[in-house]
């Protein structure tokens, strides 16, 4: 495969993986917890580096999952002790993220891990960092990691589809019929952490937020069906990645930034033109209703 193809594949995998997880987050009103986790995961990655002294994928996933869970746990803790949830999220993520950044600045220049990289990622370097299997090059490490997390997320969603659906739309009912609601909550949090870590190398810790939140919100404007929304969100994530890549190449700017901008562009389209929940469709419906009312008034 060519250099460009690997980059595009990486982008699309980020879009799909984050997109389908994001749909669940939007429905459960947890967009900002996802924002928090994708910031704090940096601490997990830096922590894993300090423990293992290498940039190995597996310890990083574990570190990220731990910090991701801790973030969700701390937010929950503050929340239940009476702190309003927005402020609880704000305190937890800024603290852990700041700690991550400060620790990061202690790591020397020799290591391929710095603040700039952590924030924006550098998808353009992805194809050079290949996995060596039995002496042969077997594709970029990032693609392997993303594919793994994608399959894992897909498996989790398929296996727990019903549980996710019930606990999202009717938590009371879910508890009463014995769905492990807390387990499902932390399962989703670990999906978010995994997606963030796998995407970290290519789009950076902060811009992964765009892929987690915006495609899901866009899909929410397009459909009312749970399953369809997850699929749409994944597709929108992939399309944003493609559009963003094209724009970045033409304008010679940050690929990750362009992808985030592209998610915003698609969201804007859905906001105005969605056939079911768009601004224009709503306006037309209101006008029609007024017309009907007027006609009825005339007839009678």
């Amino acid at each position: 495969m060519t250099y460009t193809a690997w980059i595009i594949l990486t982008g699309v995998l980020v879009g799909v993986t984050c997109g389908m997880t994001g749909a669940l987050l939007i429905l459960r009103r947890m967009a900002m917890i996802a924002d928090a986790i994708s910031h704090t995961v940096l601490l997990g990655i830096v922590g894993a580096f300090f423990v293992t002294q290498s940039l190995n994928g597996i310890p990083m996933l574990i570190g990220a999952a731990i910090v991701g869970m801790l973030t969700a746990f701390f937010v929950q803790l503050l929340d239940s002790s009476g702190v309003q949830s927005g402020a609880a999220i704000g305190v937890v993520f800024t603290s852990l993220f700041a700690l991550g950044v400060v620790l990061l600045s202690f790591i020397g220049d020799s290591v391929h891990l710095d603040v700039q990289h952590a924030l924006m990622g550098e998808i353009a370097f992805v194809p050079w960092d290949t996995l060596i299997l039995g002496g042969k090059e077997a594709g970029p490490v990032a693609v392997w990691m993303l594919s793994g997390v994608f399959l894992l997320n897909l498996a989790i969603i398929l296996i727990f589809y019903k549980e996710f659906k019930i606990s999202t739309f009717d938590p009371q009912m879910a508890i009463s019929i014995g769905v492990p609601v807390v387990f499902i909550h932390y399962l989703l949090m670990s999906m978010v952490s995994f997606s963030t870590v796998a995407s970290f190398d290519s789009v950076g810790a902060i811009l992964v937020v765009a892929m987690l939140i915006v495609p899901g919100a866009t899909a929410y404007l397009l459909t009312d069906r749970f399953g369809l929304m997850i699929i749409l969100s994944a597709v929108i994530g992939a399309v944003s990645a493609l559009l963003g890549y094209g724009f970045a190449v033409v304008m010679d700017v940050s690929i990750a930034g362009s992808m985030a901008t592209a998610t915003g562009f698609l969201f804007g389209l859905a906001f105005f033109f969605s056939p079911s929940h768009g601004l224009i469709a709503k306006w037309v419906r209101r006008k029609n209703m007024q017309k009907n009312l007027n006609e009825e008034a005339r007839v009678s």
């Binding site: 939007i26 009103r29 947890m30 967009a31 900002m32 996802a34 924002d35 002790s81 009476g82 702190v83 309003q84 927005g86 402020a87 999220i89 704000g90 305190v91 800024t94 603290s95 993220f97 700041a98 700690l99 950044v101 400060v102 600045s105 603040v115 700039q116 924030l119 924006m120 902060i206 811009l207 937020v209 765009a210 987690l212 939140i213 915006v214 899901g216 919100a217 929410y220 404007l221 970045a248 304008m251 010679d252 700017v253 940050s254 990750a256 930034g257 362009s258 992808m259 985030a260 901008t261 998610t263 915003g264 969201f267 906001f271 929940h277 601004l279 709503k282």
Partner: protein
């Protein structure tokens, strides 16, 4: 110890420290109102959204000018808050998702513009990079004076209208009855929040400035229930964080200022959470024990 005294007697350092104290106090003070209005995360989105504004100001003018940067930052920050409200009002998207969408897209646009400037407008953009995490060391005297004067004005303004703010935030209907223009007061508060964010991004950075609005008042809540005292304590916590964080950042070369300031704030929050006089966990534990004994 001698080097610390030498460090503190340097006039440049004195300016930096004065700036950080005033900025910390201003953000803690305004933050109490942000907390009461449950707008903590809107502050975060606003802060991220200032990045494209700074870049656009540079692209249009082609010069590094702090007043222009801050104007650009204020405009896109305002635009972002407007978008958040418009999305919630005109679609089925809830507030938290709306904040997330606006925050990440604005920041993405900011990164795109930043790389555009690097590639097309030459090398002297290094100053713009510092807006992401803040770098007290790279600020010139003029920048610090902007921070100090801006923060001072915000503190002065808030103190003068404290009573009006308090009534308008706590009981808007009562305030209307008293003839206080609640709508206007809310707009002024919003303007002051943007003011703190814009003034502070050079020192603390767009990614973490929101922490200075969110954490100090939250910590202050554990010491008192009275708004006046709470805002004051919040201001003190902010000022303390500013001065300690900046000092450590200046002594330890290359350590980013913003994250250090935020870490100090977080530590103070943790202390308050545990030992706070009115609601701290340990305090509460002893009180509940005392109750059981009697």
């Amino acid at each position: 110890m001698n080097s610390l005294i030498e460090f503190l007697s340097n006039p440049n350092t004195q300016w930096v420290l004065t700036g950080s104290i005033l900025l910390g106090f201003a953000s803690g003070l305004i933050g109490s109102f942000v907390l009461l209005k449950k707008q903590s995360l809107i502050g975060d989105a606003m802060a991220h959204a200032t990045l494209p504004g700074v870049c656009i100001a540079y692209i249009i003018s082609g010069v590094k000018s702090t007043p222009l940067f801050l104007t650009g930052a204020a405009l896109t920050g305002l635009l972002a808050t407007y978008f958040i409200q418009a999305i919630v009002k005109h679609s089925r998207i809830k507030t938290d998702a709306s904040i997330g969408v606006v925050l990440s897209v604005f920041f993405g646009i900011g990164i795109v513009l930043l790389t555009y400037i690097t590639k097309n407008m030459g090398g002297n953009q290094s100053g713009l990079d510092d807006f992401i995490f803040g770098q007290a060391a790279s600020m010139v005297r003029g920048d610090i004076q902007t921070i100090a004067v801006g923060s001072f004005l915000i503190i002065l303004f808030t103190s003068l209208f404290f009573k009006e703010f308090k009534i308008a935030v706590f009981d808007p209907n009562y305030a209307k009855g008293l003839g206080i223009p609640v709508g206007l007061i809310n707009s002024i508060l919003m303007a002051l929040v943007i003011g703190v964010v814009v003034v502070g991004i050079q020192m603390v950075g767009v990614v973490l400035i929101a922490a200075l609005l969110i954490t100090p008042p939250l910590a202050a809540r554990y010491w008192t229930d009275r708004l006046g005292l709470m805002s004051f304590i919040s201001g003190i916590i902010g000022a303390l964080s500013g001065v300690v964080g900046t000092t450590v950042s200046t002594i330890g070369e290359g350590l980013p200022t913003g994250p250090l300031i935020v870490l100090v704030t977080s530590a103070l929050f943790l202390l308050s959470l545990l030992f706070g006089k009115s609601k701290g966990l340990i305090t509460r534990f002893f009180i509940s024990k005392g109750v059981r004994h009697t």
